[in-house]
Amino acid sequence: MQKSNFFKGLMACTAMVAVSESALASEWGSFDGVTIEAKLIGGQQYEGLYGRIADWEAATGAKVDIISKKSHFEIDKEIKSDMAAGTTDWCVGSNHSSFAPQYEGLYTDLNDLVPADVVAEFVQGNIGASTVGGELLMLPRAQFDVSVLYYLKSNYEDADKTAAFKAEYGYDLAVPETWEQVKDQSIFFADPPNFYGTQYAGKDEAIVGRFYEMVVAEGGNYLDETKKPIFNSDAGQRALQWFVDLYEAKAVPAGTTSYVWDDLGQGFASGTVALNLDWPGWAGFFNDPESSKAAGNVGVAVQPMGSVTRTGWSGHHGFSVTNDCANKEAAVSLVNFLTSEDSQLAESAGGSLPTRSAVWEANVAAAKAGDDAFRAEALAAFAEGAKYAFAVPPIPEWGESTNIVFPELQAAIVGDKTVKEALDDAAEAVDELMRESGYY
């Protein structure tokens, strides 16, 4: 313990020396002959940024060795395996706000290594979600995720439909403002198996996240301050009932409980789903005639309200530096570079959402000035939606709790259990988990 404190202090000193020196050398420092080993998330959406690594190498004289590049869940598995085997002397790792609390002791506190004024340039909500137990575990990259409502515009331009809807439900057909309206309209639009009103993620963490945001929208919460599960409250039951009602009315595809993000995105792109709460990464895809039948017909609006508030379950990707890294200044320099304003501008040009305030403003301004009306509409919706964003509880047990909860949610949706039974069973099991973990 003492030794590691001493080590930390030493590192901090070296970092300070390095910072003052680097100001002279170049913006990113000079690390001739240093090799930084990195484990990065792979996939088309994320790899554009890695093209910029060459610039950092040129500026600093260091080399980056990407020792692993894997998809989201695979890299999570790999990092956990590394922690188990003690092979954690690589330096930079891709991280995600939902996963970060699980890697206890793996990543270093960046508050010591990154100047406070740099940290202040990020969106503070994102910094908050990157902080666990007071330690800043990662710097966010321009991959911020919160969901807004995508919809097919043609459904609201048909006079017959508008009249029929008004006659049946007693209010005007318009892009929905509340989840109640989403339910009405979904049931109204649905014509299974050719056309569905909406759809939702049906398994894994995905459905728990969707349920979580509905619970919050209804005025409840997932855990209380002592980390005790309270999602089986009335608000929780109302939230789950919404999913069940849609399923029973066949307003969602029958397979929706086996869907995760790719199925949902492809479903909406096939032009057979009216309303779709989905992530920013899809915006370009949905409006691209090469990939989507709905192209040209896609509208984007801020996410609807529950009976209490709008909410947005959110998460973001970032980069972390390990405690065992041999050359932390170099590693931090790389992380700083990959999350810098220039990097974020470049990455968010691909359609993802930034995590720096200045880049948000620049993007919104550019979209307004540009001739891409769809991009402007989407960006405005996301900028509004981001205001309601919240991150999942920063505890290592979050992931495990979702594995307990999702089969119960599914059981209620497909009718094996009632809403109350399912939520009570899930809450009981999560309660046991929290007790075992020593929260109370």
């Binding site: 956990k80 299974p192 029958a254 992931g399 999702f406 089969p407 119960e408 949706i413 497909v414």
Partner: protein
């Protein structure tokens, strides 16, 4: 003067023993040990805390575990039997073909080229209820339905079994076909002369001769039944609502996502035991069938 030398047979077996010890035995001992600890991947220090049989008690008293266990046994039983039945049928049909058999045999082996994980992705898309091939075909034929193949309890089990059977029936068919090729013609001719019906000669001559081949196929398959894990993990992940949860999907979720390796390894031992039981069962059948054939021939 002469040093005592190792027996020759042992020297010959030694490389095999070393490799297997290094790759299988040592890790297995490690996981056996860790199944008596509250080992969490993300907290390596938990490896040194001994909790005795806590993990085993926990899973053995867990209804979800037993449900997965029962489902796995059911899955294996149905799948292995159907694969055998289809394999036998295909082999008999192929044996009757007089031309193009080489090509047909290659086609037959087609599914063996597919990585289980690819089979998983493939059938996940084929059975997708909205844009999948099966529902598209049904709808084009005029049925206005979208069957939830991967959701409905029975259909989901059917779908993962179909994928598994598609992938593995070939092994049975090929082995049984090999048996048919090796079969002497004389007894069949004799039976024909004696006026046996085709069914009688199949039942009393062909089938007994094929039995050892069938058990070989069964043994080979029982050795790597756990390959089905890749398929099920991709297609349904054990869901929805644990309707297709098998031991392997439960174990990998507990071990990797929840990072509770101690608990997962305890489940692992139960699944290893299950595999071993299946294998020993078929080995004994095989030995018996071999002995019988030895007597007959």
């Amino acid at each position: 003067m002469t040093r005592r030398r190792l027996p020759e047979w042992f020297v010959l077996l030694l490389p095999a023993i070393i490799v297997i010890a290094a790759v299988v035995l040592i890790p297995l001992l490690f996981s056996l040990y860790s199944s008596f600890t509250p080992y969490k991947l993300t907290r390596p220090s938990t490896l040194w805390k001994w909790v005795g049989t806590y993990n085993y008690e926990k899973i053995l008293s867990d209804a979800k575990f037993w449900a997965a266990f029962g489902r796995t046994v059911l899955f294996l039983t149905i799948v292995l039997n159907l694969e055998l039945l289809f394999g036998l049928g295909i082999a008999l049909m192929m044996n009757k073909v007089t031309w193009g058999q080489r090509t047909l045999r290659t086609i037959l082996m087609f599914p063996m080229m597919f990585s289980p994980i690819l089979v998983g992705f493939q059938f996940k898309f084929i059975f997708n209820d909205n844009i999948g091939l099966v529902n598209n075909v049904l709808q084009s034929m005029g049925f206005n339905v979208a069957l939830p193949w991967l959701v409905d309890a029975k259909l989901a089990m059917f779908s993962i079994m179909f994928a598994e059977i598609w992938m593995s029936t070939s092994v049975f068919a090929i082995l049984i076909l090999a048996g048919l090729f090796a079969m002497p013609r004389d007894p069949l001719e004799a039976a024909k002369v004696d006026g046996c019906t085709p069914w009688q000669s199949f039942r009393h001559i062909t089938l007994p001769f094929l039995m050892p081949f069938i058990y070989i196929a069964m043994t080979i398959r029982s050795l790597d039944v756990a390959r089905a894990y890749d398929i099920v993990q991709i297609m349904t992940g054990g869901g929805p609502a644990r309707r297709t949860e098998l031991l392997w999907t439960l174990m990998s979720r507990t071990g990797y996502v929840d990072a509770r390796m101690g608990l997962a390894n305890a489940m692992g031992y139960v699944s290893i035991l299950l595999s071993i039981l299946f294998t020993i069962y078929f080995f004994r059948k095989l030995s018996a069938a071999r002995a019988e054939l030895g007597m007959a021939g």
